[in-house]
């Protein structure tokens, strides 16, 4: 039986009437899963890796050579961003222990503010992964899209799934509450994946449109290529800020792309990013939104500061990982053991797994 826990309903940015069901369920499921692992030894994760969803989206596309020149619009506009992060804390004899956290950041009246949700700590096992995910999914939408009808996710994919679920919930909350704002998402507007069911993303974009807000999704990395070269590396010899339009981007079913893809170079830093903007947003509103972003946010490395802060705020530091270990040891009696890392043991200093 799942015990009932209450959390303070503080998530009231920037308007009231916010549904806190998902964080409530996150909290309950987190506690419930940790209770199952009490007094079990925990093996430390020997190479900490923050798990972020990386999208594979290879397509040959065209990149229009004529840039769309942008002018910063200083009309005061709310710029809000969301990001989530997850980290594997360690392994138990039956599963893994992960932490998930989300952050929303916004700039209003010249000041950055944030709300951070979490961390939530889960013990994920083969036995509880379906129940855990479905409970959270049901808490999110009254009807679950996709994942519960599909094959159960691999246990190693679960952290990403949980983070995605929290991210979509945060995006929904922002889309529902911000009026005439610019919403910055991390990643693309690709959907139809187990992590991002199409209907879910449609709803989020729909809420944003209803509130006359514009969703701008920035990808830190892209695999999209035009003429064999990455679209973010074919920048014209023009002064930024500008956008480059793409054409011919198609996705293979069941995946769908709900946005139009651009390349955004926002300042003189020689960096450009893939930018997805909701297909159903009128072109004029799109340009208006990106120019308001330029006029209201900082973008020192061609990347919006609000989104950068969201990422920074939800990322787990080594200090926090230590604190989480301390928490699970003290509160849940999980013994931390340090089994030898076979990579390190066999290969010495060459024993890294490639990711660090």
């Amino acid at each position: 039986m799942i015990e009932q826990y209450t959390i303070t309903n503080k998530y009231n940015f920037p308007q009231p009437s916010i549904d806190s069901t998902l964080p409530q369920r996150f909290f309950e499921q987190s506690i419930h899963s940790l209770k199952q692992v009490q007094h079990h030894p925990l093996q430390l994760n020997q190479q900490f890796q923050q798990l972020n969803t990386t999208e594979q989206y290879p397509h040959n596309i065209q990149l229009k050579p004529q840039p769309i020149i942008l002018k910063p619009d200083h009309q005061e506009t709310i710029i809000a961003a969301i990001d989530t992060s997850t980290i594997k804390i360690g392994e138990t004899s039956t599963g893994i222990i992960v932490a998930v956290r989300g952050a929303t950041t916004w700039k209003q009246n010249g000041a950055y503010k944030y709300t951070r949700l979490g961390p939530f700590i889960f013990h994920i096992t083969e036995e509880n992964k379906n129940q855990l995910y479905n409970t959270l999914e049901h808490a999110y939408f009254s009807t679950a899209y996709g994942s519960c009808h599909q094959a159960a996710p691999n246990i190693m994919q679960m952290p990403t799934r949980l983070a995605s679920l929290l991210e979509r919930w945060l995006q929904t909350m922002l889309a529902k509450t911000v009026n005439r704002g610019v919403l910055l998402f991390d990643g693309s507007l690709t959907c139809g994946t187990p992590e991002t069911p199409t209907q879910r993303l449609r709803e989020i974009l729909g809420y944003a449109r209803r509130n006359q807000s514009t969703v701008l999704a920035f990808s830190k990395a892209t695999t999209l290529r035009a003429n064999g070269l990455l679209i973010t590396e074919q920048l014209p010899n023009r002064d930024p800020p500008y956008l480059l339009e793409t054409a011919g981007v198609h996705s293979k079913p069941p995946m769908m792309l709900l946005g139009d893809v651009y390349v955004a170079r926002l300042n003189k830093a020689n960096l450009a990013f893939r930018l997805d903007i909701d297909k159903e947003t009128p072109v004029e509103q799109r340009m208006d939104a990106i120019q308001k972003l330029l006029g209201n946010d900082l973008y020192t490395q061609s990347y919006p500061e609000t989104l950068r802060l969201s990422h920074i705020l939800c990322a787990f530091t080594a200090n926090e990982v230590l604190a989480i270990k301390h928490f699970i040891t003290r509160k849940h009696g999980i013994q931390i053991i340090n089994r030898p890392d076979m990579h390190k043991l066999l290969f010495g200093s060459y024993g890294f797994k490639g990711e660090n």
């Binding site: 950041t105 950055y112 503010k113 951070r116 961390p119 802060l309 080594a318 200090n319």
Partner: protein, 487 residues
């Protein structure tokens, strides 16, 4: 607390916020398997190098301006754990001894188990018990941080050279008074060179009433109640004054010695006859002038008299103090620089004379700002020759660099008050019984009236204590122009 590192005799210990440890505290690092324990003293407290702390702090400062305002919804209450880890401290500890079978040894050559060792605070009373800092003649110096009393034994300052130092107004004179009255209480003879006239009231309570020491305090004011007759003076004492205090050249000194012996043999040794003998002396003009000028210094000091009845006080005081104990306070407050040197030369000569003839057993000498009246060659004399006669000196100064290096190297006990000046701390660090890190780290943070006691009295376990109050009329306060504003 967890043992983190050992380098030489320095231990590094990780301490969490719930385990409060401060500079000066003692820790017992116990390795049950080895059946041994290290006794270490915290000499510095630093932040532990927790990974990720810098990122943690920096991420709340987005553009170098105002800290990022926000709200953390943390239903699982992880934040206190983050703070707990972030606030972990690293205790830098100096190993003082190894405890094995309830015996202490100064060794730090073994390595306790990092994973199995238990670390706990060692209370000062327990440390004192282990170090066997006890005895039959207790002197309560004051209270330690853990509310226990720091008690030393009077016998541990017997035969020793002591230094009380610290910056102005931190309680040095107060501690020296405390030591003095306790020594007097144990029937010791104490002589004080009182530069500012602040020890005269040792026999009075705060409200001006007589205390138990009243009859044992003998204040001598040169040229007032403290005079000497020439016939009472041994020749070597007079020569000491002339050569060392008045810088009489060798040839003139020889002539003076001849004159002195002649007058002594004739039974005519007094100021008047000495003056006349110098005036009538048939010798080189320069020699006569040199002797005349020294004679005038003698005469002008008012310290010498031809009346033997006026000149018995020092002997009397020493005699009284010999059996019942007592403090002879030589008040040098209104004495000129030359006269001060004459008086000090005389008193030291007299003490050596009395001690060498076994008229006295031993004397505890307290010398405030001794550089103002002690000639340079006396420093070595005091720590070597005079110690063997039984003069055990305590130097009190707020200018540690005025005391010679040789004194620091041979000091048995140092009572160190607050110093913030690096140079001063460096000077004190030269003492043989002190390690420089302890002095630099602990002394800099000592609050007023707190003293770091080092050396034999605490069996080389440096201990910080707040010097206890004394019910003695204070006279060492600085005179103020705006007393009410400053009080």
């Amino acid at each position: 607390m967890k043992l983190y590192k050992k380098e030489g005799n320095i231990l590094q210990i990780i301490s969490f916020p719930t385990e409060s440890a401060e500079k000066g505290d003692y820790l017992l690092v116990e390795d049950a398997d080895a059946a041994k324990a290290l006794i270490a003293q915290v000499i510095d407290v630093q932040f532990a190098a927790v990974p990720g702390v810098l990122e943690e702090l920096l991420r709340t400062l987005p553009d170098g301006g105002e800290p990022l305002q926000g709200e953390d919804i943390d239903p699982m209450e992880i934040a206190p754990h983050i703070t707990y880890i972030q606030d972990a401290s690293l205790l830098i500890c100096k190993i003082r001894a190894t405890l094995e079978n309830e015996m202490l040894s100064p060794s730090s050559s073994w390595l306790p188990s990092r994973s199995q060792s238990t670390i706990k605070k060692l209370s000062i009373p327990m440390l004192m018990k282990l170090a066997k800092v006890d005895g039959k003649l207790p002197i309560i110096l004051g209270g330690t941080k853990d509310s226990s009393l720091l008690t030393i034994d009077a016998s541990s300052i017997d035969g020793t050279l002591n230094i009380i130092t610290g910056k102005k107004g931190c309680g040095k004179s107060h501690l020296s008074k405390l030591l003095m009255v306790n020594l007097v209480g144990y029937k010791a003879t104490v002589v004080i060179f009182d530069l500012n006239g602040e020890y005269s009231s040792l026999g009075l309570t705060n409200d001006g009433k007589r205390n138990m020491y009243y009859d044992k305090i003998h204040t001598l004011i040169p040229s007032q109640n403290f005079k000497v007759a020439l016939e009472q003076l041994p020749l070597n004492t007079v020569m000491g004054i002339l050569v060392n205090a008045l810088h009489l050249p060798g040839t003139s000194a020889r002539e003076f010695r001849r004159l002195w012996k002649m007058l002594k043999e004739q039974g005519k040794l007094n100021m008047q006859n000495l003056g006349e003998a110098i005036r009538d002396l048939n010798c080189n003009q320069h020699v006569r002038d040199a002797l005349a000028s020294r004679f005038h210094s003698f005469a002008n000091s008012g310290f010498f008299t031809d009346c033997p009845g006026e000149a018995t006080l020092l002997d009397e005081s020493l005699f009284k103090a010999k059996d019942a104990g007592g403090a002879i306070i030589v008040n040098l407050k209104n004495t000129s620089n030359i006269d001060r040197q004459i008086v000090v030369e005389y008193v030291l000569g007299k003490l050596v004379d009395s001690l060498s003839n076994w008229k006295l057993k031993a004397v505890f000498l307290f010398a405030e700002e001794a550089h103002l009246y002690l000639r340079e060659t006396y420093w070595d004399d005091i720590v070597t020759r005079m110690r063997h006669y039984g003069i055990f000196t305590t130097f009190i100064t707020n200018q540690p660099d005025t005391i010679q290096d040789t004194i620091y190297r041979q000091a048995d006990n140092i009572f160190l008050f607050n110093f913030t000046n690096e140079h001063d701390l460096d000077v004190v660090s030269r003492a043989a019984r002190v390690d420089a890190e302890t002095v630099r780290s602990i002394a800099r943070d000592l609050p007023p009236h707190h003293c770091l006691t080092l050396g034999k009295v605490v069996r080389d376990f440096p201990i910080v204590a707040r010097v206890r109050a004394l019910d003695i009329k204070t006279m060492g306060e600085t005179r103020l122009f705006f007393p009410t504003l400053n009080s």
